[in-house]
């Protein structure tokens, strides 16, 4: 099949789309620049007290200082590995639990109210209690996993339940077992839901890890934030927060990439 020559009108249409996309990008870049400009100028003009807000140039400077003197790489690594590990454990256990709930409706009915309550409990407020139960190291993972696992279970199970009943009927007509239904229909059909859950969990895991580090940690970006605020070094605090933001963006983008490669219009 050969494509007909693109007409004038069509080319103009495509150009219009490209121009609009460029405009969007431009606006986004401007927003970032404006934000950085205000953050830099406001303390210098003393609209706000520089001791309390820091500014981008100081943050950049202290970034290098921290890299040299405070072993920044180690702290970034600690938080990153805690977040990734909690994220994976949370995700995997949530999917397994959702599978169990799908398998046994009886089990689901028993656990449902507990899951709903557990989900609405503010886990961050319970962070000190996690610390008491799990101790230094494990409480960080505990909080991060607790924050993400319940909402993920509810999301993924919800998706499983909504799976097209006729597709399941189809597998049954071939004589498929419940296990085959799960493996051949329910799981593949719900990959979009699971990727959606992944995206949410990236943020939640980081939040949980930092909250955990606030409780009792010797290393990590949360530790640096506490240390910096204790010695009234706002630059250090802001730099750590900036790194955290960068980390979550990177993780989110990795998942978006995963999404692209795994999902080709599945309707």
């Amino acid at each position: 099949m050969s494509q007909p020559e693109a007409s004038e009108g069509f080319r103009a249409y495509l150009d219009g789309l490209r121009r609009q996309a460029r405009r969007v990008r431009l606006m986004q870049a401007l927003a970032i620049i404006l934000f950085l400009a205000v953050w830099e100028i406001a303390p210098k003009m003393q609209w706000v007290n520089p001791m309390l807000t820091s500014n981008p140039s100081a943050v950049v400077e202290i970034f290098f200082t921290m890299a040299r003197e405070n072993n920044l790489a180690l702290h970034v690594w600690v938080t990153f590995k805690e977040a990734v590990a909690s994220f994976i454990v949370g995700m995997v256990s949530a999917v397994l639990i959702a599978m169990a709930l799908w398998w046994s409706n009886f089990l689901y009915r028993i656990l449902d109210p507990f899951l709903v309550v557990a989900n609405s409990l503010p886990k961050l407020a319970l962070a000190p209690i996690f610390y008491i139960w799990l101790g230094d190291e494990w409480s960080v993972y505990g909080i991060a996993i607790a924050i993400s696992v319940f909402i993920t279970i509810l999301m993924v199970y919800g998706g499983f339940r909504e799976t097209d009943a006729d597709k399941i009927k189809l597998v049954r007509t071939f004589g498929g077992s419940k296990w085959q239904v799960l493996a051949k229909v329910v799981l593949p059909a719900n990959v979009p839901v699971m990727i959606g859950a992944l995206k949410i969990n990236v943020g939640l895991a980081l939040v949980g890890v930092i909250a955990g580090e606030f409780q009792a940690s010797k290393a990590g970006l949360g530790y640096l934030i506490i240390y910096g605020s204790q010695i009234l070094q706002m630059h250090m605090v802001m730099a750590s927060i900036a790194i955290l933001a960068a980390m979550s963006v990177v993780m989110y983008m990795l998942i978006a990439l995963l999404e692209k490669s795994v999902i080709h219009d599945r309707t």
Binding site: N49, L52, Y131, K218, I226, Y227
Partner: protein, 335 residues
Amino acid sequence: MKALTARIAIATALAALAAPAAQAQTTVNYMEVIRSIFYLPSYVAMEKGYFKEEGLDVKMDTAWGTAKVLPPLLGGQRDIVLLGPESQVYIENSPSPDKSKIFCQLTAKDGLLVVSRKKMAPNEFKWAMVKGKDYLDWTNGTTPQIDSQWVFKKHGINPQKDLANYMTNVASGNRDSAWIAGKGDFGTFFEPTASLIERENKGHVVASIGNEIGPMGFTTFMATDKFIAKNPKVVQGFCNAIQKAQNYVSEASPSDMAKLVKPHFMALEYDLMLNSIKRYQGVGVWSKDVTYSEQSLNKLQEIMVEGGVLKADQKVTYAKAATKVFSENAKKAVK
């Protein structure tokens, strides 16, 4: 006769003008960093009406954290704050356009007490005993932590090498429960936690960091340069009230004082309050000398440099950090 009545009239008028501003009450927005029995004299000043006598209507609130005190202080929402003097060193070194000064001292020594899990009397305790043990200290960089680190050094102990586990990672909110849960063979605590631990038989006070370091102002009253310039009378009045309170504290009985300030410690049991006051009196954390001295500042900065939170070239001069004027006046004015 006329000349005499005229003189009397003038003298009376002058006397009336010179009378203390007790009639006009000025509101002072005061913020303390935490609520603690360690700050006893400030509550005494309130309950005994010393602030009122100075014409001050002090409105107090508690920040529950050093970092939370700074924005209101520097932003002008609070007139006078109670903070550790190390904050003043940080403010001097910061890019803040508004600077502040320490003008009066509340506590004269570090109020931390060393608690041992194993029962022993204070005179049995030797610092070498912490070697090879777990030590529950405060978080890295805080004044309590750098203070105890300095004391370790004084006794030739390297916390990183000589202790089995030097715990500086526990958030302050979790320390008490961590100790109760069994973490640490030794640890440092303020009152009333130390008394509480003893009462629960989970530990015994064996030493005082304050005595190890010696006199060094630990908690001070601060105000911005702007505020001090505009309201010297208020600052002086405040200082006078504190001087009166310190005088009272040095003479009154612990039980009287415990009853007096009880309204500020509704959740604290009376016997713990009493114990704490007695202990702190024993250590000598309250002093009639309300001037924050240059020696205190020097010692503090030495400990801060030792502790790695201050670079040697960041030390500030006494003139930048504090002013003696008000405290010296108070010492003279109040008998």
